[in-house]
């Protein structure tokens, strides 16, 4: 490489030329204070392009890494390959019509996404939700959290070299899918929550399945802890990898288990309690190290806490209605729709116009999704469609931190690091 040749000169993109050139230029310009010896007689400097179709990047994440031997000197992330414009779609749908789209945002924990949208709409429209529905939502959210963390555990441990763990976590996920299938009617994209409540109550079979899961899952968790917590290979791959201190974590706006692993107990369930999280007893696991191992411990302990929450919900869940009985605020039950004229009209009106929050109102509501703070900022113009609906997604915030964490890391740790930050690109790209 000659003295004058830059990254931009060497890259010859074939499509999206302006975009690619701007990206390479941006990598070239990153930390302009750092001086490089551009003579490089051994040719150890290179640009590595990872993704967007790399299997270990958890979706369509694209990384541009500038390497010096095996060390990453600079990195840039390029996201947007899964951009579907959900915020634009939301402006053209009623609130309830938009809900199935949220399933496809963080597709590893669809239940949390549904609840996040519904609670936000309920806040802006001032809708009361019956007690039983709140508890059903909490159980659903915690099951979704376990399911999301299980996928993270399987893939992250697989990234460090162990395949069998992946099979075991997926066996447990399969049981969770069975539970969702049983009470929501779908295995994956459940769309079970409704504005003003939930679609249907738990069946006895579903409750039995949840109870069975709650009984047996802690033992699995214990076995996995036994396997990994003293595992030399797993430790060496994760310890001191991607270390972030608490001050930097706040500066970068990290969220979820990633910020809790740096010692900041920031959890929306405690910070701004929603549903009935203020009535159950649970702890927010934190660690101080801020490395990949700390993130692992946080998520493992969170799964145990989720089980604790589900147990308490099952014990205290009252009997009663599961959706608010106000036809202006939520769908009537199917019995009413099929057997009364009013019910049919209300059902039609809900589908056609939907819930109309007061004109000029705007508010924000966030929940603690498995990946971190998931919030909806809604501006209403008084119609059934949101004027503007902005989604704050945890994966975007965490990916921004990943860009910083990659600088100075080893190229072999890249995949483990991505696994530790646990981004979902469906959500990051909106």
């Amino acid at each position: 490489m000659s003295n004058t040749e830059t990254i931009v000169d060497r890259a010859h993109p074939t499509f999206f030329k302006e975009h690619q050139n701007a990206l390479y230029k941006s990598l070239e310009d990153k930390h302009t204070t750092v001086e490089f010896d551009s003579n490089d007689p051994l040719g150890t400097r290179m640009i590595l392009n990872m993704g967007p179709q790399h299997p270990a990047t958890h979706g369509v994440l694209r990384l541009l890494l500038e390497l010096d031997g095996e060390t990453i000197t600079k990195s840039k992330l390029d996201i947007g390959y899964l951009h579907r414009g959900v915020e634009k779609i939301a402006e053209n749908k009623t609130y309830q019509e938009f809900m199935p789209y949220t399933d496809r945002m963080d597709y590893l924990s669809p239940y949390s996404n549904n609840v996040a949208l519904c609670t936000a709409v309920e806040k802006i429209a001032g809708i009361e939700v019956p007690e039983r529905a709140q508890y059903i939502r909490m159980i659903g959210c915690e099951l979704a959290r376990i399911s999301s963390h299980l996928l993270w555990l399987g893939t992250m441990v697989m990234d460090t070299g162990a395949i069998s763990m992946f099979i075991w976590t997926f066996r447990e996920r399969e049981r969770l899918y069975d539970i969702f299938d049983n009470f929501a009617g779908h295995r994956f994209t459940v769309s079970h929550s409704r504005i003003g409540g939930v679609n249907n109550d738990f069946t006895d079979a579903a409750i039995a399945k949840i109870k069975n899961f709650v009984e047996t899952f802690p033992k699995e968790l214990k076995d996995w802890n036994k396997l990994l917590n003293k595992n030399r290979i797993f430790f060496d791959r994760n310890i001191n990898i991607g270390q972030v201190d608490s001050e930097t974590a706040i500066k970068l706006g990290l969220t979820g288990p990633v910020i809790r692993a740096t010692g900041i107990a920031y959890d929306i369930r405690h910070f701004e309690p929603y549903l009935h999280y203020d009535k159950v007893d649970f702890e927010v696991p934190t660690r101080l190290e801020g490395d990949n191992l700390a993130r692992y411990y946080c998520r493992m302990e969170e799964m145990a806490e989720s089980i604790k929450i589900i147990r308490q919900c099952l014990d205290t869940m009252p009997k009663g209605p599961i959706r608010t009985d106000n036809a202006k605020q939520s769908y009537p039950s199917k019995d009413e729709v099929y057997y009364s004229m009013e019910g049919l009209i209300h059902d039609f009106m809900m589908t056609d116009t939907g819930v109309c929050p007061p004109e000029g109102y705007e508010c924000y509501h966030a929940i603690e999704a498995p990946k971190g703070e998931l919030g909806y900022y809604i501006q209403s113009d008084g119609t059934g469609h949101p004027w503007r609906l902005k989604i704050k997604t945890p994966s975007t915030s965490n990916l921004q931190g990943l860009e910083r964490a990659l600088d100075g890391a080893m190229v072999a740790d890249t995949v483990v690091l991505i696994g530790g930050f646990d981004p979902v690109l469906g959500e990051a790209d909106k």
């Binding site: 074939t14 499509f15 999206f16 030329k17 302006e18 975009h19 050139n21 701007a22 990206l23 941006s26 310009d29 990153k30 996201i79 947007g80 951009h83 414009g85 915020e87 634009k88 779609i89 053209n92 806040k123 802006i124 001032g126 706040i250 500066k251 970068l252 706006g253 900041i264 920031y266 910070f271 701004e272 109102y361 705007e362 508010c363 924000y364 966030a366 703070e373 919030g375 900022y377 501006q379 004027w387 503007r388 902005k390 704050k392 975007t396 915030s397 990916l399 921004q400 790209d429 909106k430």
Partner: protein
Amino acid sequence: MQVPDKFNPVTAAIQALDPSGQVQISVTRGDVQLLVPRTIIIDVLRTLKDDFGFTYLIDIVATDRFTSEDRFEVIWNIISLKDQSRIFVKTRVPEEDPSLPSTVDIWPAANWNEREAYDMMGIRFTGHPDLRRLFLPEDFEYFPLRKEFPLMGVPGSIPLPSTSPDVD
């Protein structure tokens, strides 16, 4: 709705920054929102961070108030971990000059959020270290979340890569 008591020192300090009295404070469903003029926005945000501990930036929302005066609105969603409080700071910019000073040196987390606002709404943040589009390719020339952008998109606006292997 009444502003919660714990925000009194904050609102007093913000009002002191603005002698012309244009700051509007409102509460919707418990969310405290400040609307400040564009000229003092950076002073307000810096005061909130330095003096009141709003160190954690959650999100930046850009909205299009189509047909209203001062068409675009930018909202900073910030929280103070110390006081357990959340505040929304809003400012408005006109269509002819949709630019604002960048807040990346106050909160480094604003980097991607400002890029997103630029990508979706076309708001330029002066002093931003790397103002590229966040989701869409640079080759795209529209701002899709503006109200005049059609839902179905603009045909031919984005050059798609060829489906056959490189031939050129």
